[in-house]
Amino acid sequence: MTPTTPTDDTELRAARRDRVFDAMATVGLDVLVLARRDSVAYATGARSLWTAGSRPFGPACVLVESARSIHMLSSWDDGVPPEVPFEHLYGVTWNGAVLAGALAGIPGLPTATRIGVEAMSPGFEHMARRLAPEAGLVPADDLMRAVRALKLSAEVARIRAAVAVAQAGMEAAGAALAGGGGPTAARVAALEAAARRGVTVPTSGVAVSSVGATGTPVHVDIGLLVDGYEGGVGRTLPGADDGAPVVAAQRRLVDACRPGAAAADLRDAVATGVTRWLVRGSGMGFEPPVVSDTLGRGEVIEEGMVLSVEIELGGMRRRDLAVVGPVATEAIQPAGDPRGCNPP
């Protein structure tokens, strides 16, 4: 058996953890209760079994600001980093009384005056009010989003590595189509290419759809989770050449995603004839900001964000992740890609 090993870079884990605790201190949260896999992964670096879709709300992770301690729902220490001691794990339970007992034993929780929750269910609200009768329960999803939105350089490196896996999937899909295969063969090829690189979990997954009845061209969109971070790319295959209108339209939209840009600036950059577009955050999955024709009021693009920039024009789609730098934004594309949307 492989021994228990740290599943995330020690310094990256520490930096993310500090950001979360610092944010808790800034807004005066004694305790933060996280429920979602991606949030727990961000705060703890723990790796866990991937399952599709939403889980019923439950306290998967409890952070106590005063001790800067992390307590986690896990029945074993496999995948749990060393800074979360075994004594801080509470096992899987089906019994609310058992869970309440475990939470009551977390130092700092019963005496908390402000508890942040990522979301809320009636059952957990009832439990929390009994466990910490003096505490106010406040929504703290916005705290996690603000912390996660601005990426550390080590996170950007992870995202670039993740994009490379998605791009390998796209190449494999393109080769399958070029070899005479249909949409199913393209999807299989992309999945197998990712699996050969050790990647079997999706964010959005591998979606392939035929544009017309003949089978080609096809839209291929790939979103994968690689070492905790999302890699994504979308193309219509066979691909557009460098002079295609969709390439220029994406270049213009990527260029508009510069620090200080508001939703209106992005809308202004969307070319005439664009039939669909979406700019939204990417990191450990789908993240805010979300900007479209109808969404994004009040959002401002900031340096350090990583954005998924998706556009469709003339029946051709393109999606790339882009890193917002101090003055300009760069799409994550293979160096020297003649069909890339970055300035030469």
Binding site: R37, S54, P122, D141, L191, T200, V201, P202
Partner: protein
């Protein structure tokens, strides 16, 4: 024994297996809606506001889980609103399938502050002011809490309404589960040969995912588990129960010759989950001690199935399983002897959990309940055998859901 008990199990499962049935999606939705309405009326709930994917699937017929990660499922989540006394549910979502029998509304984006404000307006248009009314909700996003979407409402836990409605399944729901399981078994049978010495877990998982696509399966629900198991508990990760850790979903091990590998996966069919569990051995047949594990597992299965019928309690099933295993409870203590499956991969009825013996004794089997039986036989030093079979309780006993996949390389 030599395969006799395993053969006995396969025979009694085959005797109780019915041919694949056609699913009437429209009828399935109408019957679920009627059950939800009945539970809402019985529990005094006027409105149900549902965000959790499987609950939306149950209420509005939309396969809520499309095989995407939680972040996509949450941000792009459809929302269902069920109003007491109305003929059909309301669905707030993008690109709603034109065949769904729902009242259509634009997507709500309840995770975003601007979306939550819009949701409050949309719900108000559907049902009027919520203040003072009994409203069941499964989960509220932070944005919904900030926007005060349910301000002044008498909030109830929607899991009580949904849980009661889906405790027993309709024939169409059972057909969905059976078809999901049949396809899951078929895909696993097709790729078992890829689990050989030197292969990595991700290569085998990739072969499985590719096979699902080739078969036209809508969605995979769990990163498929192919976990090499230790021979002793002490050789595995430390656990809160001092038993073997499974399923951890961590690392990408390379299989070695002779490894015992526990396999677990689940796929979607029309919103319903399968649950495939088997024990594989890499590159060889099981030895005598390993075969004995399988025989004991089969004996437990036969003992449970022999008594399963309406009126039997979960406690009775636990006692039958333990009696067939020399008095010891043959399942993982953090899990169960059996669990239900439906729009969730694990749901009520739960049998043998830490809810305790009194709970099990109060849990009375009824027609339409589904049980995924997953006993585990562990012999420290030899290792363990674990597999799963799905059955549905019928008027006079039970029937098997699935395609009859055997237990290779076990006899």
């Amino acid at each position: 024994m030599n395969g006799r008990v395993g053969g006995d199990l396969a025979r009694i499962l085959a005797e109780r297996r019915t041919d694949p049935a056609t699913v009437d999606v429209g009828r399935m939705g109408r019957e679920r809606h009627a059950r939800l309405q009945a539970e809402m009326a019985g529990q005094g709930v006027e409105v149900a506001l549902l965000l959790h994917g499987p609950n939306v699937t149950y209420a509005a017929g939309l396969p809520g889980v499309q095989g995407v990660d939680v972040s996509y499922a949450v941000f792009e989540r459809p929302v269902a609103v069920v109003v007491g006394g109305e003929d059909r549910p309301h669905l707030l979502a993008a690109d709603i399938d034109p065949t769904l029998d729902v009242e259509r509304h634009p997507a709500a984006w309840p995770e975003l502050d601007e979306g939550a404000a819009g949701l409050a307006g949309a719900v108000g248009e559907i049902v009027g002011p919520l203040a003072g009314r009994r409203v069941a909700v499964d989960e509220q996003s932070g944005a919904m809490l900030r926007a005060g979407v349910l301000e002044g409402a008498d909030i109830a836990d929607a899991s009580h309404v949904i849980g009661a409605a889906k405790l027993t399944k309709t024939d169409d729901e059972l057909a969905c589960i059976a078809e999901a399981q049949r396809r899951n078994e078929e895909a696993m049978a097709a790729i078992q040969h890829t689990a050989r010495a030197g292969a990595t877990r991700s290569e085998v998982a990739g072969a499985f995912l590719a096979r699902l696509v080739e078969m036209g399966v809508e969605a995979n629900l769990i990163d498929p588990i192919f976990q090499p198991m230790p021979r002793t508990v002490a050789d595995g990760p430390r656990t809160t129960t001092d038993t073997v850790a499974f399923p951890t979903g961590v690392d990408d091990p390379t299989f070695g010759q002779g490894d015992i590998v526990w396999v677990d996966s689940g796929i979607d069919h029309l919103g319903y989950a399968s649950d495939f569990g088997r024990t594989w051995i890499i590159g060889r047949d099981p030895n005598a001690a390993e075969r004995r594990l399988f025989e004991r597992w089969s004996e437990v299965m036969v003992a449970v199935l022999e008594i399963l019928m309406p009126g039997v309690t979960g406690g009775d099933l636990c006692r039958a399983a333990a009696a067939a295993n020399g008095g010891e409870r043959p399942w993982l203590p953090h899990f169960y002897l059996a669990h239900g499956v439906g729009v969730e991969s694990a749901e009520m009825p739960l049998v043998g959990t830490d809810l305790g013996p009194e709970f099990d004794d109060r849990l009375v089997m009824a027609p339409g309940m589904v049980l995924v039986l997953e006993p585990v036989i562990w012999d420290d030093g030899v290792g363990g055998y674990r597999a799963e079979e799905i059955v549905a309780v019928t008027e006079d006993g039970w029937r098997h859901l699935g395609g009859g996949h055997r237990y290779p390389p076990f006899p």
